[in-house]
Amino acid sequence: SQTIHQWPATLVQPVGSPLSLECTVEGTSNPNLYWYRQAAGRGLQLLFYSVGIGQISSEVPQNLSASRPQDRQFILSSKKLLLSDSGFYLCAADSGGYLGQYFGPGTRLTVT
């Protein structure tokens, strides 16, 4: 089965600072990878997904970006954080839509 690691677990950053969140996957190769953001009372919002190295699709235009430098590594970045970037960020992976997605433990980001 797949195991997804995310770090850091929590992060407090000032407005305007950069961001880098990392996600790594074990137990599978060539997974589809996803970044979601969860804000209170708003469910999960898909931010990015990737079907392969260097292939990134953005679902929501904003000041965030994603990269996939290796098959099982997915990075979420920002050059300048906004207050509205606060939330719970979840990385997910699957090996085919019918299998369902496996989620990492999440990163709680607070922008002050």
């Binding site: 997804i4 995310q6 589809n32 996803y34 009372g41 708003r42 469910g43 999960l44 898909l46 997904y49 079907v51 679902e59 719970f88 979840l90 997910a92 085919g96 839509g97 019918y98 369902g100 997605q101 496996y102 989620f103 990492g104 433990p105 999440g106 709680r108």
Partner: protein
């Protein structure tokens, strides 16, 4: 386009009572259906999924869900809940093709009290 509606944002129940969390979806093509559970400050855990075949699907922790194609519903049920079932529950759909992200409902908070 697909969409998922979870009809109740919050469901309070007493311990050992039955519970049903409702989910309706909209799609012009066939979909896979999922229920996830999220405990506070944790990631999502897959409870169960419907791919095809029997419309009654059994999952972990005593939960089950029934797929109703005519009503486009996928309601989650448990005959007797425990305090430990207190969590947020998400219904999701996926179009039947690889590399397609899940579309989630906004979640239902299940609160079980003694």
């Amino acid at each position: 386009a697909q969409s998922v509606t979870q009809l109740d944002s919050q469901v309070p129940v007493f311990e050992e009572a039955p519970v049903e969390l409702r989910c309706n979806y909209s799609s012009s093509v066939s979909v896979y259906l999922f229920w996830y559970v999220q405990y506070p400050n944790q990631g999502l855990q897959l409870l169960l999924k419907y791919l095809s075949g029997s419309t009654l699907v059994k999952g972990i922790n005593g939960f089950e869900a029934e797929f109703n194609k005519s009503q486009t519903s996928f309601h989650l049920r448990k005959p007797s809940v425990h305090i430990s079932d207190t969590a947020e529950y998400f219904c999701a759909v996926s179009v039947i093709q690889a590399g397609t992200a899940l579309i989630f409902g906004k979640g239902t908070t299940l609160s079980v009290s003694s």
